[in-house]
Amino acid sequence: MNSHVEMEHHRGVLIVRLSGELDHHAADFVRMDLDEAIMRGQVSHLVLSLKHLQFMDSSGLGVILGRYKLIHSKGGKMVVCDATAPVKRLLEMSGLFKIMPLYDDESTALSDLEVAL
């Protein structure tokens, strides 16, 4: 597996830190890990940290959009933070920032979400 998922629960917020490469091959593993954590835990909101993601393509966009739909259907919010320049470009191209805010780092994302709680 060339992609890694690190997760941390923080007061109803699931923080997901992705590293490595998120392509079609990795997408299935990442999707399963995230959905399991979202369905099993007391997760209201999701913070997706992309700081250590070295590569992403449109398969990664599909994974992010899919998790957005899941969280959104449960009445929660999903935000992304710390996107590297190439990942940010891809997210911009797909229009993702129209539905999901981008924060500079995890702590800003968390404090904004907790205000929104």
């Binding site: 490469e21 392509d23 079609h24 091959h25 590569f55 398969s59 599909g62 994974v63 899919g66 891809l90």
Partner: protein, 151 residues
Amino acid sequence: MTNSKAGNFMNVQFAARSENESFARVVVAAFVSRLDPTMDELNDLKTVVSEAVTNCIIHGYDSDPEGIVTISASLDNETVHLTIEDQGRGIEDLELAQQPLYTSKPELERSGMGFTIMENFMDEFEVTSEPGHGTSISMKKTIVSKKALYN
């Protein structure tokens, strides 16, 4: 064949398996590295290779690992020519397939951004497809060498 010209070229064929997607990206990146591309240019090339190869696997071959993906690349001065093709099912409606956000496989959580990304990241982009026989994507990108930027 595009390879008849005097420039450098390479061809690679591999099984249509998702674990070969990263291999495909690395092969093309290594081949192009002699042009001294910037990190952004290299990332653009890796992304389009990833999109095209993923399309071959998911759409061309319906995830059948028996399929074969072919990548041909050549260098013509500072320009990279890339052809990525499969002998799979082909695309019925090319215009529809190239619409941003359109996907024929929403059940697989595809974003429908593959063609849009390829068009945006490359200087030239052309798809040819014959239903039942396969799809071929030809692309060009001119590398503005890092050396040129520094001079």
